[in-house]
């Protein structure tokens, strides 16, 4: 990746300026790093005894079990979000008003409500009506509902990205509406949206950290239990945070590669739904 065209290739004076700022910024970054290191060192957070826990097989196995449960929760949420998102997308795309209107409303509401509020509804409100899911359900169903709304928009963008001529051709050879969608448009749309759906998995994985709230023993909650035993809060949460980041980086990289490959193999020009796939949540 090169610098933006905004910056012209520098002449001798420009190069000198760049060199000075480069040195200054390296020093500044090193200074900040040293400050952080010193602060952690001074408060005893870097003491080996506080980190040794993470070399014990017991701890590692415990955290890996947590990570496994994170995967289970993410898969569960995906299993709810994908089909529901598909149904909502097809509903919204429908020409029948009584179908498209409610689907649009559901999508817009689910997109504008925090996942945590949905979780609270499943934890505190629904039990008053006798609907009491397991801790797994209280975590997975709200995340799945939130993801469904976003995936619906991804699917819809994918269907709209298929050239109109495809639909027209389908109708021209006499296929009914539904069949055109099912046999002609949808298979192409699916290929377009797969990278975006994979990217969406990052958001789902992040949301599973709400296991901390519902006490489902995924990675975050496992960390909390570990902290209760060892008191090494900074160390444990740092390790867990890094694990989350690594897992999500792998997923993002996978999505990007899939998109790059797809763009290379298609004559449709570059279609990027990755940007649109990100749920508006940062969590």
């Amino acid at each position: 990746m090169s610098a933006h065209a905004l910056f012209d290739a520098q002449g001798p004076r420009g190069r000198a300026t760049v060199r000075v700022i480069t040195v200054a910024s390296v020093l500044a970054l090193l200074g900040v790093a040293a400050l952080v290191y010193w602060q952690l060192y001074r408060t005893g957070q870097l003491a080996p005894s506080k980190w040794l826990t993470f070399t014990e097989p017991g701890t590692i196995r415990y955290l890996l079990t947590g990570l496994g449960n994170t995967a289970l929760a993410a898969l569960g949420a995906g299993a709810i979000g994908l089909p529901l998102g598909l149904v909502l997308a097809l509903g919204r795309l429908s020409r029948r008003r009584w179908l498209s209107w409610p689907a649009t409303a559901v999508i817009e509401v689910l997109r504008a409500v925090p996942v945590l509020l949905l979780i609270y509804i499943f934890m505190f409100a629904l039990p008053q009506y006798g609907i009491n899911l397991s801790t797994y359900g209280k975590l997975v169903v709200p995340i799945g509902l939130g993801a469904a709304a976003v995936m619906a928009e991804v699917f819809r963008a994918g269907v709209l990205a298929v050239p109109r001529g495809q639909t027209e051709a389908g109708l021209a050879v006499g296929l009914p509406d539904g069949v055109t969608m099912r046999l002609v448009v949808f298979p192409q749309a699916l290929r377009i949206v797969i990278p975006a759906l994979v990217a969406q998995a990052v958001v789902v994985v992040k949301d599973t950290a709400f296991g901390y709230v519902v006490s489902y023993p995924e990675l975050m909650q496992s960390g909390r239990v570990l902290v209760a035993n060892t008191n090494d809060l900074v160390q444990t949460y740092l390790v867990i945070t890094v694990v989350y980041v690594l897992v999500n980086m792998v997923i993002s990289a996978l999505a990007q590669r899939m998109e790059a490959r797809m763009n290379a193999s298609r004559g449709l020009g570059r279609i990027s739904l990755l940007g649109r796939a990100r749920r508006s949540t940062l969590a």
Partner: protein
């Protein structure tokens, strides 16, 4: 519903006010820092570019819950006491900045290199190019993604509830805890979130039509 409005209107308003504060401060800070970081990422200074890339890669992939717990409960161990309010804002801003940076960078990159080269060819200096060409176009292209970012930050403020701050989401769960009003309380909060989001989206699309870039 009556109880909600008679006895808890004040509590509810306080919760909403905290949510509004967190959203406003978080969004503004993320926008400012995100712009600076975006400039880092397009600048010709290698260490700043690397720093920007690493920062974005990390904070875009971190679950806000994990970061929040680390900042709120971890920083005091390292001798930094910010209090809940500023800790939450710090975590929110840290993540928001990464998303804001990528949004703004995409806006800068949307300005075609040819235009910049043309401006340079007729002798416009760097600041002239930035002011007359790149910034106006970049700002217009990112209006809608920035609205998405705003809504994202609004929704993320609900996470303050995880560390026990009484913003909108935890307020309604508190009221529910006192009165057991069932879904009602939560639906009121949901409606408030939806109204704020739709208003933001409405303003965004207004601005977008008015300042559309014709390409």
């Amino acid at each position: 519903m009556d109880v909600l409005f008679r006895d808890y209107l004040g509590t509810f308003a306080e919760g909403l006010w905290l949510t509004v504060q967190l959203t406003a401060i978080g969004f503004t800070a993320a926008l400012i820092l995100g712009t600076i970081l975006a400039v880092f990422r397009v600048s010709p200074i290698p260490p700043l570019r690397v720093f920007g890339a690493v920062y974005v890669e990390f904070f875009r992939n971190v679950p806000l819950v994990a970061l929040l717990l680390l900042v709120v409960y971890g920083l005091p161990y390292a001798g930094v006491n910010l209090g809940y309010y500023w800790s939450v804002i710090l975590a929110l801003t840290a993540v928001g900045t990464a998303f804001a940076c990528e949004t703004i960078r995409s806006g800068i990159n949307a300005v075609s290199a040819g235009q910049v080269e043309a401006a340079r060819a007729i002798g416009l200096p760097f600041w002239g190019i930035a002011r007359e060409l790149v910034i106006p176009q970049a700002v217009r292209t990112v209006i809608s993604p920035l609205v998405t970012l705003f809504i994202g930050i609004l929704l993320s403020t609900s996470l303050a509830a995880v560390v026990g701050m009484r913003e909108l989401t935890s307020t309604v769960s508190y009221i529910n805890n006192q009165e057991a009003l069932g879904l009602t309380t939560f639906l009121v909060a949901a409606a408030v979130y939806v109204i704020i989001s739709l208003t933001a989206a409405g303003i965004g699309s207004r601005l977008e039509t008015r300042y559309r870039v014709l390409r």
